[in-house]
Symmetry: C2
Subunit: 335 residues, 2 copies
DNA sequence: GCGTGGCGTCGAAGCGCTTCGACGGAGGAA
DNA sequence: TTCCTCCGTCGAAGCGCTTCGACGCCACGC
């Protein structure tokens, strides 16, 4: 293994000079820097991560906690994860993957052993048992999602309440009077998953404000469940003309089911969704949707963490405003 | 931060004794061990990961490389990942997540900086550019998937060729004479992804052996694509009575499409699949399938790696034999 | 009784890097 | 010219842990 002293000897400088040339923490003359860089290249030097972590008390590793509970949509979660990894690399950090198998002990362990410098926590519940732990840790963290009481923590997410409102208001503007929300699987609400609840809040509040008649329907993530919900909706609410879907897995099956039941989209029924643009665009009938900006959320989560690691203060809450794109699935009511 | 010297003082022993009590690498009297453990508990001691890595040249971290290329089925990949993380924890290791953004440099970097002790590589291509790199690294690795030339490397996967054969043989046994394979998206074959190719090999070979007429149809991962393939199959092969599906995303949409086209499953058409049992069981018509044992593959990949880290030799190739479960989607031809 | 060999423990030497204080020299101010 | 400052570099002291060699002690065999 080639180490910093080898590079130093080869470049005719001291090890500390090599270190400073690498980190830029002290000025180094252009000429020296070039000799050092040449030596590094020639010898194929790579600083030893452990030694670096020990000496600098920085591991340059972030923990990413992905619970992967039932009912979540895995591809969407992975989009966040990829975005986190990619952005972390831009800041010269790596990402340690934690699932929830170990529970909260895993978080404490990686923090206390200094394996990671900071943590990103996904799938936050309204009353998440990890909150007190995160507050007590001596390392910064960012949550993707909003708990009921985010005091003292840093959170970022799409403003799901506003997203729910935006969908309803869009439908109201088009003249629809009876709307329904097809939501996440029931267990997601039972757990008190923040983002799902907030969509319901926004949806209901906006419907009330606009004087719409509204109803909420959790839905399992399977085509069969989608069919059942579609049938139930038609049976119980024959006047229904507007649907908001907040469940990636059933978006397409649900539209299929409606059409098989004789309802044209958007002719008889307007559909909006809260989902990644990529999905909304590739459904057979492209769906008017509020984008789920996973790439942006992941990126900004890492940026917030980097700021905190740098000692800067960051806002406790970052709510990304909903961005709605109109596509072929919505139309005026009497169209 | 509480360190090993604090524990040693508190327990009235030397730091090396604490270390040996923890690692078990030298005998320690029962009484001393208990005093040490009590001190650790009382002080809340956690060994510093960097210091440990530096002194022992073991980081206790594995790299998990997940390319996430287009056309792969993300939930299945995540099942592998979760299994890897869970198993790694059982061996007191953590998992660093690498995507392919960085390309091969990322692998080299984490290996050369001693950030990780070993690597697990997923989504292997037949002629994977990472192979020479893995051979040249000074750290052990295991690939999930088989390249064309696995010499000098360690690979593990389901025996996809045998899985393809098993599906065909099952259909042949039931009297079917014309069969089709609905496979992964085209780009997966274009890239030369090992497992997809092997299914085709097994499927074709077994069909030829049994004198069946067969055809292969790549299929994009969308319900729309599934419908198109279904229509095409009926048009071009009216005598078709057996279908093998190797594409998790279209399994259910495909069956739906067949039924909408007037074919009952399994009355008119028998369907088998290669997919996780969990999926096969929850389709509307439970599907006879060869299991994709992601949990077992992930677990065994880690076990292989641990053996290699322990200095033991391991077999170059581990092919898990296919395990078929009959469900409601297959029936004799003239049923 | 004395040699022998474990067992259990200790002390010290690193592992490879960062960082702090120090220092020589060049340049500017007075 | 002299003094001060700042730039660029060096040497040394750790960071917290593991591990190697050494050593005292006790039990055992002859």
């Amino acid at each position: 293994m080639v180490k910093i002293t080898d590079v130093a000897r080869h470049a005719g400088v001291s090890p500390s000079t090599v270190s400073y040339a690498l980190s830029g923490k002290r000025p180094i003359s252009e000429e020296t820097r070039q000799r050092v860089e040449a030596a590094i290249l020639e010898l194929g030097y790579r600083p030893h991560a452990g030694a670096r972590a020990l000496a600098s008390s920085r591991s340059n590793v972030l923990a990413l906690v992905i619970p992967l509970r039932t009912g979540i949509h895995v591809p969407v979660v992975m989009q966040f994860a990829v975005s986190v990894v990619t952005t972390a690399r831009r800041y010269d950090h790596d990402v340690l993957l934690l699932t929830q198998e170990e529970g909260e002990d895993g978080l404490r362990r990686v923090a206390d052993t200094a394996l990671v410098d900071a943590l990103i926590v996904m799938d936050v519940q309204l009353h998440d048992p990890r909150l007190p732990l995160l507050r007590s840790l001596d390392r910064p963290s960012v949550m993707i999602g909003f708990p009921a009481e985010p005091d003292g923590l840093t959170c970022i997410d799409l403003d799901f309440k506003a997203a729910g409102e935006a969908c309803v208001e869009h439908l109201a503007r088009l003249g629809h009077r009876v709307v329904a929300l097809v939501g996440s699987p029931p267990e997601v609400y039972v757990r008190g998953t923040a983002f799902a609840q907030r969509v319901v809040q926004g949806f209901t509040a906006a419907a009330d404000r606009s004087g719409l008649s509204s109803s909420v329907h959790p839905c399992e993530a399977s085509p069969g469940a989608a069919r059942l919900v579609a049938e139930q909706l038609l049976r119980e609410q024959p006047a229904l003309t507007g649907v908001v879907v907040h469940n990636e897995a059933v978006l397409e099956p649900l539209i299929d089911a409606f059409e098989q039941l004789g309802l044209r989209v958007p002719g008889d029924l307007s559909v909006t969704a809260i989902c990644p643009d990529e999905l909304a665009e590739t459904v057979r009938v492209p769906v008017t949707s509020v984008a789920l900006p996973s790439a942006e959320v992941g990126e900004r989560a890492v940026q917030l963490l980097m700021k905190k690691l740098g000692g800067s203060a960051v806002p406790e809450a970052t709510l990304l405003p909903p961005r709605m794109t109109e596509r072929a699935s919505t139309a005026p009511r009497n169209a």
